[in-house]
Subunit: 230 residues, 2 copies
């Protein structure tokens, strides 16, 4: 994605979206936070601006944030994923990449956050792929990066982000944005269907975090050094 193009985050008023916005802003990238309400979007953008000196952050309606961007991040809770994708149908155009960060936690239906719901299509990301307009490609990523860690400017990240998608070139473009955030390494986890495993890492980490009162992340050992996307 061109360096002067802002990174759009749909659901940018939520904890994950706002956390990503801070980190990208701190890395010198412009960000657009999307929300269903332009007012709430502007408010959230203002908060990021306050905490990151010199941040270029704007708040827009979701559709306006997504329109025309090469890569769009979707960071809404599972409960709101379908509604958001419906609302984006007119805004999204062939050639765009939608990065789905949704995790089908049972919390969406008042269940436990250490359990997940079965999604008919196999995963939230595959549901997203079914719902986006033809020609829009879904990549799944960022399920395991904790919002509290992203939001804490003192917290140093040191973890991997597993990226799923059916085309390596698309994943590599998303990986580039992920790796703008210091301490995150993007790893090619395979085709989009592997999202049904990767999405489960969130309830697993929640289970571990409860036990250790921690904010755990995932890291893979034994991978070769160097550029994983060359």
């Amino acid at each position: 994605m061109a360096e002067n193009e802002p990174i759009p985050i749909i659901g940018g008023t939520g904890a994950l979206g706002a956390g990503l916005a801070r980190r990208w802003a701190a890395a010198g990238r412009a960000v657009v936070l999307g929300s269903r309400s332009a007012e709430r979007a502007e408010e959230a953008a203002g908060k990021v601006g306050e905490t990151v000196p010199g941040a270029e952050v704007e708040g827009l309606l979701n559709e306006d944030a997504a329109r025309g961007a090469e890569i769009v991040f979707l960071t809404v809770p599972f409960r709101a994923q379908s509604e958001n994708l419906n609302n984006l149908r007119e805004a999204l155009q062939p050639g765009q990449i939608l990065v789905d960060c949704t995790v089908p936690l049972a919390a969406a239906v008042s269940g436990k956050a250490t359990r997940s719901l079965g999604v008919w299509q196999g995963s939230a990301a595959q549901q997203a792929q079914e719902m986006v307009p033809e020609g829009v490609t879904v990549v799944a990523a960022l399920h395991t990066v904790g919002a509290p860690t992203l939001a804490d400017p003192e917290a140093e990240l040191d973890e991997d982000v597993l990226v799923c998608g059916d085309r390596k070139a698309d994943k590599a473009r998303v990986a580039e944005l992920i790796e703008l955030i210091p301490g995150l390494r993007a790893v090619n986890a395979g085709p989009l269907e592997i999202a049904r495993i990767v999405e489960q890492l969130t309830p697993l980490l929640i289970s571990i975090n409860v036990r250790y009162k921690a904010h755990a992340g995932i890291k893979l050992t034994g991978l070769p050094d160097g550029d994983h996307w060359a």
Copy 2:
């Protein structure tokens, strides 16, 4: 488990079982390899003995290997899990812990090793818990430790083992054995039902290994230092 008690591995002639046997033998622990054939068990034990100087390794029929041990490791492929548990019904006694390492890879029915089968009970480990005699407790562990890495005496391990089970005390006893192997850290991943997530890490790692021509392991970042089982 008492230090002079050998560690029994059911399915010890397979790659994971033999790999664990080598590592425990190298750490100075006696091991019993179980097989459906006493001859094959002895043969496998002989091989471990050849590669690990001074190894105390014996080969026995599965039932004889399991009988009376505090903790029994089950390292058979998913295809053979039910049959093995049926055969162990008379040998296992209340108070024993069965460590299930089974992963329901779709490879069991000629499918891909990057896909898994749905198990009615939720996971292979929960299926095992249903099948063992009353009073035997199942703990799930060691799904993500690669057999080729274990088997290679030059390979240094550096990864976590996610341990699932309903009682922390049981998991702690299993963790102690796991951590006899240098480079492995046992992490409390939650109740046995979380095995339905942890078992999925194997097809995930296989997908990543294919892409990176690697033997990847899992590690958690952000956990507190010190004894995780105190």
